[in-house]
């Protein structure tokens, strides 16, 4: 989970700026490639349960991952393949979790996007929307109690999750404690099928920031050139001790809610609006326009991403699934306090 790129470094000089954008782009590309692999495995019936992609949200997500450093805390959500990779999560974690390998971080107990490495600051989401934000707060508070400073905690959520009580309680809690929380809302216009106008009535979700007494940042989520500096700024602000901020990025989910969903409800007008731009394409064009890359490099990067993904998939497909007879079936860390009481004459 090493993350070398850091905020302040990349403000001025072009060389490091170029490197930063290329790095971001390549994580985005890897995330897109990985997500597409999962979609393809899903269509082949090789995945148990649902598949959820971050298509169209890679620029925002990667920026969160890149704005964080080793030692920071990150609570990604279902569309954060790019951010997770950039934060340093091994590609194998994703594949193992989707394919139910017993070697994965969740040991096949949990699946698809529900994985993480809490010891390394990467919190494993529970499904209940909004629930992870206060957990980030807790990590940050505990660090403060230990006398640590200079860290940041980021949590990602969608537009729909802003309607949960958990979102409200946690953002308010962070504000009261002045915690270095960066709360990132990917407003992809829909929560499953529900459009913004059935989810909230404020003009912009950014209007929420003042109500919590936190800083607000508004970003075009399709454009890496806004996302990356925006997140770096928000993280730097938090790191400096200035308290929480709310980052609201607008974009469009360029896929179904999950791969089972054809998203027929997405308004055509939205798809053709600027929100409907593919951030990966936008970033690519930008890199080309700047002369920071060329077609040959792009092709090589694509090939490399594909290879990494194929390699990981092939490897994980050979890994063992879980063995129910080796499971201890005890939810407690304190094994001696477990009941093991599924009680049946079977066990007699």
């Amino acid at each position: 989970m090493v993350q070398t790129l850091s905020g302040p470094a990349m403000t001025a000089q072009t060389p490091s700026l170029r490197d930063a954008y290329i790095k971001a782009f390549r994580w985005m590309l890897l995330a897109r490639t990985l997500d597409e692999k999962f979609a393809s495995l899903y269509r082949m019936g090789k995945i148990h349960g649902g598949v959820f992609l971050g298509r169209g949200q890679e620029a925002l997500s990667v920026s969160v991952g890149l704005a964080l450093r080793k030692g920071d805390v990150f609570a990604p959500l279902i569309r954060d393949t790019a951010g997770r990779l950039a934060f340093g999560q091994p590609l194998l974690d994703f594949v193992r979790t989707y394919l139910g390998s017993s070697l994965g971080p969740m040991r096949a107990r949990d699946g698809n996007v529900h994985h993480g490495r809490p010891r390394e600051g990467l919190l494993p989401m529970i499904s209940h929307l909004g629930a992870m934000i206060s957990v980030v707060n807790g990590v940050l508070l505990a660090r403060r109690l230990k006398g640590l400073t200079g860290m940041v905690g980021a949590a990602c959520i969608g537009d729909g999750a802003t309607s949960t009580g958990s979102f409200h309680e946690a953002l308010n809690q962070a504000a009261v404690e002045k915690l270095p929380l960066v709360l990132v809302i990917a407003n992809n216009q829909y929560a499953y099928s529900t459009p913004n106008e059935r989810q909230f009535a404020c003009k912009s979700l950014l209007d929420r920031a003042a109500g919590y007494g936190v800083e607000g940042f508004e970003l075009d989520g399709t454009d890496l050139r806004q996302c990356l500096p925006g997140l770096l700024e928000a993280a730097a602000r938090a790191r400096s001790g200035a308290g929480p901020s709310l980052v609201v990025a607008s974009l469009l989910r360029l896929c179904g809610h999950g791969e089972h969903d054809d998203a027929g409800y997405v308004a055509a007008a939205l798809k053709h609006s600027p929100l409907g731009k593919d951030c990966l394409k936008v970033a690519e064009t930008f890199l080309l326009d700047q002369g920071w890359t060329d077609d040959a490099h792009l092709a090589a990067w694509r090939a490399e991403a594909a290879e990494q993904v194929e390699e990981a998939t092939a490897r994980v497909q050979r890994e063992p699934g879980p063995d129910p007879y080796k499971e201890n079936w005890c939810a407690l860390a304190s094994r001696h306090l477990g009941e093991g009481y599924s009680q049946t004459v079977e066990d007699l």
């Binding site: 995945i47 096949a108 499904s127 209940h128 529900t194 009941e339 599924s342 049946t344």
Partner: protein, 321 residues
């Protein structure tokens, strides 16, 4: 024609909407989209303005339903998954469940909870929650196991003047089929002998009914006549029917997909032991899910919950006791 358990849920809601103008539906993605499971598909078009999308606000969803009920409406809430009813738990058990007892004003709301495990769903999309809601006073908790029941009981739930926790089992949504919708309904609150027998009583409910029936069928090949009781409603719990069955068989195995501590199996066994102790020829037994979250991986999941196989094994052992 073939009607699935899920179709029956939709048809029951369509009928409730058609026959009673006080009924409306509220839930996430249930209007134009027709719900995550399509349990309300087409209803928004057929009943304009009465199938309403809610924000992702389970607490407020329940509060909204209670207020509407005070005003005389009969709302049906859909939680996207039973697991997501927990952020609304407080409003269900403390607001909805206490209203009538405190004020004499009835609270006729129906909360549809897509419950239970399906392969690959994991800890947060698989939970059985009937025991939690049954513990609190003021709620009726239904756990229909058949196409016929899910239809008639959902209609009954809407007609009942109390909050009804309607536990639909997702595993049955597509698997379970019937030729047609029922035209009659069994009495609410009564259990049903799903299969008559004389050697041992298996008490089950929801998806476990079908595992129990499969086990009974298997055991019939070995010459055993197993009686299977479908509880249908776990609160109220029809102790009489269970006791009458135990009176015939002398042996009781109770099967539940939820966790062991304080689940339906505990309550059933406690009641039979206290009320019909002398009818028992052997210790009553229970079979539950293991006491861990519901695992994601299919092979773990299959071991976590009772199955026809584990039920028939348990039954064989109990028959020898």
């Amino acid at each position: 024609m073939s009607i699935t358990y899920l179709d029956a849920i939709r048809e029951a809601q369509a009928r409730a909407l058609a026959e009673d103008s006080r009924v409306f539906l509220y839930g996430q993605d249930i209007a134009v989209f027709g719900g995550a499971f399509k349990a309300t598909k087409g209803l928004a078009e057929r009943f304009p303005g009465r199938v309403i999308d809610s924000p992702i606000s389970e607490d407020a969803m329940v509060g909204m339903a209670v207020g509407a009920a005070i005003e005389g409406a009969r709302p049906i809430l859909e939680m996207q998954f039973a697991d997501f009813s927990m952020p609304g738990f407080n409003q269900i058990v403390n607001q909805a469940a206490t209203l009538h007892w405190r004020t004499r004003v009835p609270c006729p709301i129906t909360i549809r909870l897509p419950c239970g495990g399906t392969s690959g769903s994991g800890p947060f999309h698989s939970q059985m929650v009937e025991a939690l809601y049954a513990h609190y006073p003021g709620l009726v908790v239904m756990t229909p196991a058949t196409v016929e029941d899910v239809y008639s009981m959902l209609l009954a739930a809407v007609a009942i003047d109390d909050p009804v926790i309607f536990c639909e089992h997702k595993y049955l949504y597509y698997h379970l089929k019937a030729d047609c919708l029922p035209t009659t309904a069994e009495e609410v609150g009564k259990a049903r002998i799903a299969r008559p027998g004389r050697d041992l009583t298996i008490v089950a409910y929801s998806a476990m009914l079908h595992e129990a029936l499969a086990a009974a069928k298997e055991l019939s090949l070995e010459g055993w006549e197993i009686e299977v009781v479908d509880l249908r409603t776990v609160k109220p719990l029809d102790t009489d029917t269970v006791v009458a069955s135990v009176a015939r068989t002398g042996r009781l195995l109770c099967v539940g997909e939820s966790w062991p501590w304080g689940g339906v199996t505990a309550e059933v066994i406690a009641r039979v032991s206290t009320e019909a102790f002398n009818l028992l020829d052997a210790p009553p037994q229970r079979l539950n899910a293991k006491d861990t979250p519901v695992p994601y991986h299919p092979t773990l999941w299959a071991t976590h919950r009772p199955t026809a196989r584990s039920i028939s094994n348990a039954t064989r052992k109990l028959l020898r006791l």
